[in-house]
């Protein structure tokens, strides 16, 4: 087996330690920035939903500020965002390179996307349910928690799946400019040193990661659809 792999992907087998470290780094970046974006996206998505003109605590100012901010960050290409955020990243994390340096721009790149996913998941909650909850005397926080979030679990899971997959793409891009991870691995060896087996192996690992996320997401979404 090992011999077979040595023949098939010699350059990867020769750098197994770097290869596995890259996978770990990618997982770390996706894990950290994904978790932070998840929480922020829920917060912003819920806030935008409830402050809408016809929302349960409509607030024009908050709604418009958040909405415009999300649009703004969505329209900046990630690669430019990476460059722009260097000073801020240094300020927050103390460094702008490596896994640590990648998390801030990844969060900035990912949160607006997930916020929109949250919005559309929440928009699928039947307004009649909100009305029913209000008629039962529930307060706004209870409505958010027990109706909005609870009733849209399947939608949130689907949005999370899409977001995680696009986040993997972003980490590869961040890797290209010094964040480490599989993107960095593929650029450094596959591209710059023209080791094709490195490139292909990286692609394969990414495809497996994406598929795993997709399958898990579908499963959880299905379990939560009644």
């Amino acid at each position: 087996m090992e011999e077979f792999l040595n023949d098939l992907i010699p350059n990867v087998m020769a750098r197994q330690d770097i290869f596995f470290k890259s996978i770990r780094e990618t997982c770390l970046m996706v894990g950290w920035s994904g978790s932070i974006s998840f929480l922020l996206g829920i917060l912003f998505g819920v806030t935008i939903t409830v402050t809408r003109p016809d929302g349960i605590c409509s607030n024009k100012i908050v709604y418009h500020i958040l909405d415009k901010l999300v649009n703004f960050f969505r329209s900046v290409p990630f690669i430019i965002l990476l460059a722009c955020l260097v000073p801020l990243t240094r300020l927050i994390m103390g460094t702008s390179i490596g896994v640590k340096g990648a998390i801030v721009p990844l969060v900035f790149g990912c949160t607006p996307f997930f916020t929109r996913q949250m919005e559309s998941a929440l928009a699928e909650v039947d307004p009649g349910l909100i009305e029913a909850a209000q008629s039962m005397g529930l307060g706004n926080l209870d409505i958010i928690w027990r109706v909005y979030l609870r009733e849209s679990i399947a939608g949130i899971v689907r949005g999370t799946t899409i977001t995680l997959i696009s986040l993997i793409g972003l980490t590869a891009m961040a890797g290209a400019i010094g964040a480490g991870g599989l993107g960095n691995f593929a650029i450094m060896y596959g591209h710059q040193r023209n080791m094709l087996d490195v490139t292909y192996t990286t692609v394969l690992v990414l495809v497996v990661m994406v598929s795993l996320i997709q399958v898990t997401g579908n499963y959880i979404a299905k379990r939560n659809t009644h």
């Binding site: 029913a132 005397g137 009644h226």
Partner: protein, 351 residues
Amino acid sequence: MEAMIKFQHVRKEFNSDGKKFLAVDDVSFDIQKGEVFGIIGFSGAGKSTLVRCINLLERPTSGQVFINGTEITELPMSKLRQKRKKIGMIFQQFNLFASRTVWDNIAFPLKGSGLSKEEKAEKVEKLLKLVELDSKADAYPSNLSGGQKQRVAIARALASDPEILLSDESTSALDPKTTKSILNLLKKVNRELGITIVVITHEMQVIKEICDRVAVMKDGKVVEIGEVFDIFANPQEQITREFVEHTSNLSKIYELVEEKSDIVRVDQEQIVWRLRYLERNVSEALVSQLSRKFDLDINIIFGNIELIGENPIGGLVAIVRGTPEQIDGAIDYLHEKNVGVEVILDGRVSE
């Protein structure tokens, strides 16, 4: 008797696209404790808006609403939420939580009620029994029929022991048989639990079935209000008459006359009349009395007599044969008895 719900000059104005729209226009009336009160009107009449002013899902632009003597239009939000728990509401689209089982839907309003787990379970159990869905406790709403969904919604609305139950077109999405069973359940809720019920509908049938009193709404105003029997027997407004006509097949006679149908062909000794029972004491033997007293042949074409509460209401359409004197005598007699007579076709003058 003290009013359970009191509307005082309630107005509700909507502002859409800079245009003002008066959905509820200066409505004042009372709904008594323990009654089943109907609100009927065509689409857009303002029924839902008015009823949503009871639990302030819609806040009146001006005017006051009192619940059990408390002016709720004045209450701060926290007090209002407490009050809302005592006002259950059911909807046309059921509005059940799809991600929760029947059991969890019914238990939903009990969170934070201070009941222990056992007390909650006992309560849900009791409600399930009341709505006859014991066997469906673990089912999800998507696996229930429309009627079953509405039963769950009723149980959920009753979970916080409300004094009032608001029903906004709760049977409009259901077939006639299911409608009947839901109406019976509402009746039971009213009788056994003493809950005041406000029923919105656009079907007079529903009003006839369960309401004690009814208000007829048109263009945001209450145009007629009264006991269901009186409204049926003696509708004052054009719109009320339309609703009443719709519930019986008696008005078909006009179509038949229009079409010159064979059924209503009359000769010189015949007339077609329509009798309306307006009083609560119609004697069942009216027709045979007439035929004996005035020597008439009475051939009933349509009859539609139903009970509202304990009183028969409706009327009949019949072809009557007799001499002009006999017929006139009969008509006078009917007037005396306070039965409405309308001569639809008169063979005596038609030739």
